[in-house]
Amino acid sequence: MNNGYTGLILRVNLKKGTIVKEPLNMKNAGDFVGARGLATKYFCDECDPQCDPLGPENNLVFMTGPLTGTCAPSAGRYNAVAKSPLTGTIGAANSGGHFGPELKFAGYDGIIFEDVSDHPVYLYINDDQVELRDAGHLWGKDVYETTDLLNAECGESFRVACIAPAGENGCLFAGIMNDKHRAAGRGGMGAVMGVKKLKAVVVKGTGSVRVARPKEFFQDCADARDTLKAHPVTGAGLSAYGTQILVNIINATGAMPKNNGRDGSVFADADDISGETLTAKYLLRNKGCFGCSIGCGRVTDIKEGAFKSRGEGPEYEAGWSFGADCGVNDLAAVCDANFLCNQYGIDPITMGATIACAMELYEMGALPESDIGFPLRFGDAAAMVRCTEMTCKGEGFGKILALGSYRMAEKYGHPELSMTVKKQEMPAYDGRAVQGIGLEYATSNRGGCHVRGYVISPEVLGIPMKTDPLVTEGKAGLLKTFQDLTALVDSAGMCLFTTFGIGLPEVAAAYRDAVGSDESDEDILLKGERIWNLEKQFNIAAGVEKDTLPPRLLREELPEGPAQGKVNQLHTMLQEYYQLRGWTGEGIPTPEKLQALSLK
């Protein structure tokens, strides 16, 4: 009996056109939980770390967690894992919505896609009926068109995960979109799908997820939901204002990078692009994913003007990347650019940050206007949206932007102006004003990313404890705990946002009673540490560059705000972090550590 799991995965060879249903490796499920961790284990066992991420040897693994599709709070997640074409690291992109639960209801924990098809296809899953179907008529269609066509073709109740022209055209930061508006966004998983000529996965299931100790499990979930509802953030704040509510507090902290970070991190017009303004001007309603009581999603409508549009979002990160990072204070333009990213399947963090980098290159004279086709100065909302659209459609200068900021800045002779770690753009928090998040960016296993150990929570928001963002003491240990817990939560199939209200005890209890384990909280957290080390091992074998930050964060002092004069003190935190991880001074897991984690 596979409690928490369906016990089956699909192995799809796109070149041969074969589909095999195989038993889930339960030993690996026990060690690596599910979703992010288990997909990474499957991937690492089967793929060469040196493989070309845009070649046929790069498998693409979709995987759910043992809590996905259960009544655990916000347990609607799945992960897409492959080697990232943007970073060369392990790529693991996490998404909500309803697709992941539906896959489990159909009877499958995950799908492994091998090799490449010679023509566009989509995978059709209707409980036991699984087949590859021709997708020639869908190629070139955007996310909304593709989803609507597939729903018309297969049935309205099918859930759709798909790519759009950005993924088809090889944009290195193309994502996989499911349920139209939810994204496995970062690291270019959509580009991997595009190379495979895999346009979409459609799924419908009529089953359910069995748990080992139903009575205890339902009580765990009810208790956790009560805690989340009583918490001011997960019970009220996120549903009322969405994640964009962070704009003003991060800006007040002096940590919201402005103009590619060139001009510091205090944006005078922050309130114009804030969650408060979004709510007052454009919000239609909030929206939640499967089994979510938080409902942080935004359904927004720009009714008139040059940026008239309608869609979902933006999240805080996209609000920053298209807003402050590009010097843009027009919230309608920010929304429009974000909607385009959803429609065409692009990661809006990398998109906005790459445009910001291009703006800096243009203003310093390194990027000629003739290459772009129009002026591209900070603050030009129309130019920002135009760049986004060109990238989405693979037109003109958009083909250069589609490489991401590092490769673009390198082309124009200034790679140091790319605000990336391991070639992925850092999100919306300046590591000079918040020391721990700088360490988090530097050590993230998928390149610049905030959700691999969101220490903004204690450093700025005071959740679950308050730590001073300007000090370095204690940040290494704090980050390690956050990284391991995040790996566990991601792998269990729950939304990371639940951890604003609940923590390891609640997650571990739900996991135990779902799968029928008697492991301690500490044993379960150790699985997160195992996953983290597995990812690190892959990156080392892949030859990924060392853990560091862009020179700007290490050398250019912030010109104003509460952190005026600060740079990130990475060197004072990194060695302590490696020591706490049981790694060498070069950041390599020691044989003793690997043995302790049962990793080869």
Partner: protein
């Protein structure tokens, strides 16, 4: 001195405005007393703990972008040139 309010603290029943200018009181605690007197019990309930002797758990008070917990807490002194930012507990990402 400038005082800025965010999220639902801008709503009527709380501050009812985005920001206001006022003479600087001596400390953050005194500021809380003055604002509570001005805006009423709902605001006081957010700003102070139920016992009234500490800052509330549901509020974030910053002076010039620094949380007062990392300054002198409710006893943090205030100057005419200061900006005080008052948020409810928020999160996102």
């Amino acid at each position: 001195m400038t005082v800025k309010f965010f999220a639902y603290l801008r709503d009527s029943g709380y501050a009812g405005c985005k920001e206001l200018q006022m003479p600087a009181p001596d400390t953050v605690r005194t500021l809380g007393e003055q604002l509570s007197h001005r805006f009423g019990p709902k605001f006081r309930g957010e700003f102070f703990s139920p016992a009234g002797d500490q800052l509330g758990e549901r509020i974030i008070v910053m002076v010039n972008g620094r949380r007062v917990e990392f300054l002198d807490g409710a006893d943090t002194p205030l100057r005419e040139t200061d900006t005080v930012q008052i948020f409810p507990v928020v999160a996102g990402g």
